[in-house]
Amino acid sequence: MSEQAPAGAIHDIGYRHYDGPRLGASYVRRSLFVDTARGAFGLGRSGRSKVVPFVLLAVMCGPAVVMGIVTGYFNLPTLPLGYTEYSFALQVAVVIFLGSQAPVAVSRDLRFRVAPLYFSRPISREQYVQAKYAGLATALFLLLALPVLLLFVGALLAELPLDDQLGGLARGLAGSAVLALVLAGIGLVIAALTPRRGLGVAAVVGVLLVSAGVQGIVRGLAEEFGNDTLAGYAGLLNPFTLVDGVVAGPFGGDSVLGTPPTGPAMGAVFAMTAAAVVMASYGILLLRFRRSL
């Protein structure tokens, strides 16, 4: 009989060196991007942290499914809510999603000072911020674009003419992309500036609610005084109305607002403001993370 080690015995084989591949900074950035986007939906995190994002995703998609069914059942000539209007109507869910997930993306790394561990690795600060920004923007885009796609499917099943729908779908998806970039930037900046637990959520939701309120007040006053130009520009004060202006202007869609921005000049201002918000957010995030380590 030969001597045999018992099954499952742990042998101390000493320290083993790693001589496999080291994939470098672009792999690291890609991994961090994927982790951030997945993390925004609670994937790769605890079971509890999946509840809020998936409930919000259901809230975003539910009405789109219902509208598709209703359109087909009653043979409506158009969808009850257009592709570009949809996220505007459901913006509360979007704001809550952003408020709950932007702090997950950046505040934890600042609060628990994990950021220096990233920066002592191949990835640069720029690549870190790019990965986080792109990750959260992608998650938001999925949240915004999925119901738009569901609306489109509903419209097709209701046998609405395809030609009418394609333009709206394209504008809806493009608008979702711009809105995702703008919102992700604003949310990440606020979250990065308020790393304390719970504060980030309140700050993001608060800032977006207040900006919506201010935008509404300015618009209301301008309309009261019959100044439609000022009322049009009031849309710059809130990310949702800002992107509505981009969709209505450069993208050639319809605005949801009673006094929308008009003319190519105003459209250009809205588009440039949206671009400026995205670039400024990226810049502020870089500065914020330059201070760690």
Partner: protein
């Protein structure tokens, strides 16, 4: 015995506010465990950041693993591990998840990161608890995880910033043992900062002492703690008659509690001690050659 791992020349770092953190610092760190000693604010952390390529020095050259820290930072950081002084562990994540993630962030494929994490956590002495959220860990366990994340990608060099901070004496000993094993068993060189010389003399092969951003001294631990021409003599019973007898015989002697420190620059002194003990009927318990302590060298 090997090429230098860290070489700086005339390294100077002046911050925008005019504060000089490092001044004309030239050091040469070779393989093994090297202690970087200095008071708080001596420039240790600034030096580590420059070595990682995260701070651009004002002037001078700096090479780590043969790579230029100005411009080749990412390549350096791929082969170097860093353990910060401060807390850096999110409480709601387990040590395993944390190390796997950071292994990937060092460029390891996910499966490799998993294997390395299991290995490294075992080596630093974390077993079942590695699956629990880190919020419930003791300070000693947290320090082990911080060390593990610096080792997870199997670096050639680790930079450990005050690894024994906040540990009780037993935890301190464990951590120092681990650091010694990193150097001897794992074959990974380490630069360890500390403001405690006593720790480093037990752990390190060499020491670099900086003060106010300047190099005070760089030498191997063996040089610093070389033998002195002094023997500690212990006898059973009262040593004072022996001290008197030795002084009479013209041997320099100094009482240190129950021990006598005897100058043996002239080897004949050994015989004098032996004979004196025999005549006084004292039992000679031990005669031990004394070594320099680092503290003496640097405080003189």
């Amino acid at each position: 015995m090997s090429a230098s791992l860290v070489a700086t020349e005339a390294l100077t770092m002046t911050y925008a506010g005019g504060v000089t953190a490092l001044a004309d610092l030239t050091v040469d760190v070779r393989s093994g465990v090297t202690g970087l000693v200095g008071a708080n604010g001596a420039g240790k952390s600034t030096l580590l950041k420059i070595l990682l390529g995260l701070l651009e020095p004002t002037s001078g050259s700096v090479h780590v693993l043969g790579l230029d820290a100005r411009g080749e930072g990412p390549a350096i950081r791929e082969r170097v591990g860093y353990m910060p002084e401060h807390d850096c562990l999110p409480p709601d994540v387990s040590a395993t998840e944390f190390c796997v993630h950071l292994g990937r962030m060092s460029g390891l494929p996910t499966t490799a990161a998993r294997e390395r994490t299991a290995d490294v956590l075992r080596h630093v002495g974390l077993y079942e608890e590695r699956y629990r959220p880190m919020g419930g860990y003791s300070t000693g366990m947290k320090q082990r995880v911080k060390l593990a994340q610096a080792l997870v990608h199997d670096p050639d060099l680790v930079l450990l910033d005050e690894p024994t901070n906040g540990l009780d004496p037993a935890g301190r000993d464990d951590m120092l043992d681990l650091i010694r094993r990193i150097g001897s068993d794992f074959g990974i060189s380490a630069v360890v900062t500390s403001h405690l010389l006593g720790e480093l003399e037990r752990t390190c092969d060499a020491v670099v002492v900086i003060d106010g951003g300047r190099l005070l001294r760089q030498s191997s631990t063996a040089d610093v703690t070389a033998e002195t021409p002094v023997v500690a003599v212990e006898v059973d019973g009262d040593p004072s008659p022996l001290a008197a007898r030795l002084a009479e015989a013209g041997v320099e002697v100094e009482a240190r509690g129950r021990l006598l420190h005897v100058d043996v620059a002239d080897p004949a002194a050994y015989d004098v001690v032996r004979d004196a003990c025999a005549e006084l009927g004292l039992g000679l318990v031990r005669m031990e050659r004394q070594r320099h302590r680092m503290v003496e060298v640097f405080s003189s």
